[in-house]
Symmetry: none
Subunit: 419 residues, 2 copies
C-alpha cells in the first residue's frame, strides 16, 4: 500500500507551525508496513484541496488527511473530499449527542457551527475522538483508502493510534509489517561510513539499508518486511552481522539514542564517574550529558575555563603552559592534558574529558579556526590527547568537538577503538 | 509570485526527522511577500522527484528545493532538475577548490563522491555555502524560478538568508517588499504578552502585528509593505512606539537575536565580566553565552556543580547548607546565593549567575519538579535570588531557567526591571 499524507492548513504554509503531524503519521504508517511516497501541505482552500486530492489519487492508494475537520468555515477537508467523490454528507448522531452534552455540561449556549464536527461522508466509518469533538472519517472507495484525522496533535495522535490503525490493519489484511533496526555511529563521518558500506548499500534489496546524518550524528537504518518479529530478526541478521563486523569501532548503539545516552548508560553500569573541563565547547559537552535523565549519578560536574584565570585557578593548569613567548598556549595538547588531569583530580572522578580549541570565527593565539584538542584523563591510566582539525561554522565545530570528546570516552568505556 | 516548497529526503517520509525546513522557508518567503501555495515532500527517488517537479511547475512559479545536494548516491535533486529541464551539469570550480582544500587541511584522502557537492546546473547562479560544502543553485527558466538549497538546517538557513534571499529579490524586481521589525522579549510568557498587546493585535491592519513563540523566547513581528526603508520606517513608527511603551521591562532587542547576544553585547559595551555557576541547567547558560562570537572577552568561565563535592570544592558553598537534617539543601535560595557569590569571587568577575533546581523527571531532595532558584551576584551590590516554579519537561525547564537567569542579568545591565 502506497500512502500520501495531506496536511491541510494555511498556518502551515505561513510557517506559523511545524508539520509534526506528518512525521508522526509517517512513522506510524511505516510501522504498519505502509510506504509513504509523498507528504503534501495545502491551505484552507477547497479548490486547491480538491486538486491535491486528484493528484494524490493518481499516485497513492491511501490518502491520510490531517486538519480541516474543526467547526470553522475554513475547515474544509470533509467537504472537499465529499465533493471529489460525489458523495453526500450526513450527521453522525453519537458525535452530535456528545457535542450537545459538552455544551450543556459547560452551561454555554450551543454554537451552531459545532454541528460540522459531527459530519460523516456517506459510507464512511466513524473514528472515535477521545480528546476532542470532531469525528474522524475512514472510507474505502474502489480500493483507494481515505483516512480523515483532526489537525491538533492531541486529537490526531490517539485517533490514529486507536481507531485509525485498526481500520488500516483491516484494509491491509494479514499484513507483512516493516521491522527496522537503527544503528548509530560515532567518530566517523557520513561519507566515510557510506564508503565503508558502499557495496552493501548498492547491492541492497531486502533488507534495505538507509544511511542518514543528523547534526553531529550518523545513523543507518536496516529494514525488512516480515510477518512477525522472529522472522524479521532472522532476515536482518546477516546484514547486521556484516555491518557490525565492518564498523565495530564506531557502532555505539543499535537503537536511536544519542552518544551521550550510551556514555551515561555505560558509566552507570560500570559505576564510574565523569568530570568535564571545557574551553571552546563552552559547556556543550556538559549540556549534552545532563540532558540524559539519571546523569546526576555519574556526572560530578565540570568547569568552563573560558579565561586563563579559570584554567589556572579552578583546573590547576600551570601558568607556564599558558603565558610567555615559549608557552604552548591555551590551545595546545599540553593544556588539554593539564585540563583533563586537573579536573579529574579536583572532582575525584574516574574520568575527565577536556576540550580546548578555536571554534571561530577568527584565529586565536595564531591557531586556525577548527583546531581543537580533546583530552581524556582516566584514573590509573595514561592521559590521551587527540588533535582535530574540524570544518564548519562555530556551532558545527563546537558540536563535532563535543561529540568527538564523548567518542573518546566511549572508546574507553566500551573497550573499542585504538587504546 | 506563487511558491511551492519541495523537501527531498526519504528520512522525512519515514518520519525520522521533522520538516522544520518547510516552516523556516515558508516564513522566510512570507517575509519577502511571496505566497506559499504548497509544500511537498518526496523521497530520494529520481523518477518521483521529476514527477513532483512537473506537478509543482504547473501550479507555482517559484520552486524552492531543500535536500539532496550532498555527496551520496541518494542525493538526487540536482540531477533530477537538470534532467527535467534538459540541461547539462558542470563543475563549479571555486566550490571544488574549497572541497579539495578542506580535505588537504584535514590530511585525509579525497573521497571522490564529494565532487558531487560542487556541481552546478547549466545556467544556474551558485549560492555560497558558508557552513558546509554543497553549493546552492538558483536559476530562472522562462519565468519559472528554481532555488536549490541543502537539507541540513545549519547549511540551508544561512544560504537562504544570504544569497538565496538576494537572488529572489532580484527576480521579484523593485516591487513593494515587506519590511519588518522583530521585537524580542524576555521575562514574559507568550500569553501574557499577547494580553498586554491584545487591543493592538485585534485592531491591526497595516502594519500587521504577529506574535511568535520559540522555545524559551517570545517575539512580535511588526510588518508593512513599502517601496523603501524610509517609507517603511514612518509607517511602522507609531505602532512600535506604542508597543515599546507597554513592554519596556521585557523588550531586550529590536532584531531577531537571542537574549544571550544582547547580554554579551551589553557586557562588552560596559567592559564588565561574567562567570556562571550552574547545577540543574548543566552548562546550558554557559553554552548559550559561548554560542555568541566574541563572548570570550567578557565571559571568564563557569562551574557545573552537579555534585556537592564540586559545589563545596570549586564554589566554596558551605557544607552546612548542603548536608544535615536542618540544611536548606542544594535546591534552595541560600545555596543559589552561595553559588553565585562563590563563583564571582573565584573568577574575580563583575557578575556571576547561579542556577540550582530540579529539572525532573523525578523529585529530588523532596523538592518538586520545576522548582528552580536563580541568583545574581554583582560586584559592590547585594546578591539577588529569584524562586521559580517552571512548567514543562526536563528540557523545557532547563531552557526556561537558563533564560530567566539571563533575564536577571539583562535587567541589571540595561537598568530595566525591578531593581
Amino acid at each position: 500500500m502506497r500512502a500520501e499524507i495531506i496536511a491541510v492548513g494555511t498556518e502551515l504554509l505561513l510557517g506559523q507551525i511545524v508539520n509534526t503531524n506528518a512525521q508522526y503519521l509517517s512513522r506510524g504508517l511505516a510501522e504498519l508496513g505502509i510506504d509513504v511516497y509523498y507528504q503534501t501541505v495545502v491551505g484552507d482552500n477547497k479548490d486547491r484541496l480538491i486538486q491535491a486530492i486528484g493528484i494524490a489519487r493518481g499516485r497513492a492508494d491511501l490518502l491520510v488527511f490531517t486538519g480541516g475537520l474543526g467547526p470553522t468555515l475554513d475547515d474544509l477537508t470533509r467537504d472537499a473530499l465529499a465533493e471529489y467523490l460525489g458523495r453526500d454528507i450526513g450527521l453522525h448522531e453519537p458525535t452530535m449527542a456528545k457535542i450537545m452534552d459538552m455544551f450543556s455540561s459547560r452551561g454555554g449556549a450551543f454554537i451552531e457551527s459545532n454541528r460540522r464536527q459531527a459530519l460523516l461522508i456517506e459510507g464512511a466509518v466513524p473514528l472515535r475522538n477521545d480528546t476532542g469533538l470532531a469525528v474522524g472519517n475512514a472510507l474505502n472507495v474502489d480500493g483507494t483508502c481515505y483516512l480523515l484525522l483532526p489537525g491538533p496533535p492531541r486529537e490526531m495522535k490517539p485517533m490514529f493510534d486507536n481507531d485509525g490503525s485498526s481500520w488500516l490493519k483491516e484494509q491491509l489484511g494479514p499484513a507483512f509489517t516493516l521491522h527496522s533496526v537503527m544503528l548509530k555511529f560515532a567518530g566517523i563521518g557520513e561519507s566515510k561510513l557510506e564508503d565503508v558500506l558502499l557495496d552493501l548499500i548498492q547491492a541492497q534489496q531486502d533488507p534495505t539499508i538507509a544511511p542518514y546524518a543528523k547534526e553531529g550524528e550518523v545513523a543507518v537504518r536496516v529494514s525488512t518486511k516480515a510477518a512477525d518479529a522472529g522472522e524479521a530478526a532472522s532476515k536482518l541478521e546477516a546484514t547486521l552481522t556484516e555491518i557490525r563486523g565492518r564498523t565495530r569501532e564506531h557502532l555505539y548503539a543499535e537503537e536511536d539514542v544519542p552518544l551521550e545516552a550510551t556514555v551515561v548508560r555505560l558509566l552507570t553500569q560500570q559505576q564510574r564517574t565523569l568530570a568535564l573541563a571545557e574551553s571552546c565547547t563552552g559547556g556543550l559537552v556538559s549540556q549534552l550529558v545532563t540532558t540524559i535523565p539519571g546523569s546526576a549519578v555519574v556526572y560530578k560536574g565540570g568547569v568552563v575555563s573560558y579565561s586563563n584565570e579559570v584554567k589556572i585557578g579552578q583546573l590547576g593548569v600551570p601558568q607556564a603552559l599558558l603565558e610567555g613567548a615559549e608557552a604552548p598556549g591555551a590551545i595546545s595538547a599540553e593544556t588539554a592534558m593539564a585540563m583533563a588531569e586537573g579536573m579529574r583530580a579536583a572532582a575525584d572522578a574516574d574520568f575527565a574529558l577536556s576540550v580546548t580549541g578555536n571554534a571561530g570565527p577568527a584565529a586565536a593565539e595564531d591557531k586556525p579556526v577548527g583546531l581543537v584538542y580533546v583530552g581524556l584523563a582516566e584514573r590509573g591510566r595514561d592521559t590521551r590527547v587527540e588533535k582535530l582539525q574540524l570544518a564548519g561554522d562555530r556551532e558545527g565545530i563546537r558540536l563535532r568537538a563535543a561529540k568527538r570528546a564523548l567518542y573518546m570516552l566511549w572508546q574507553s568505556l566500551s573497550g573499542q577503538g585504538q587504546l
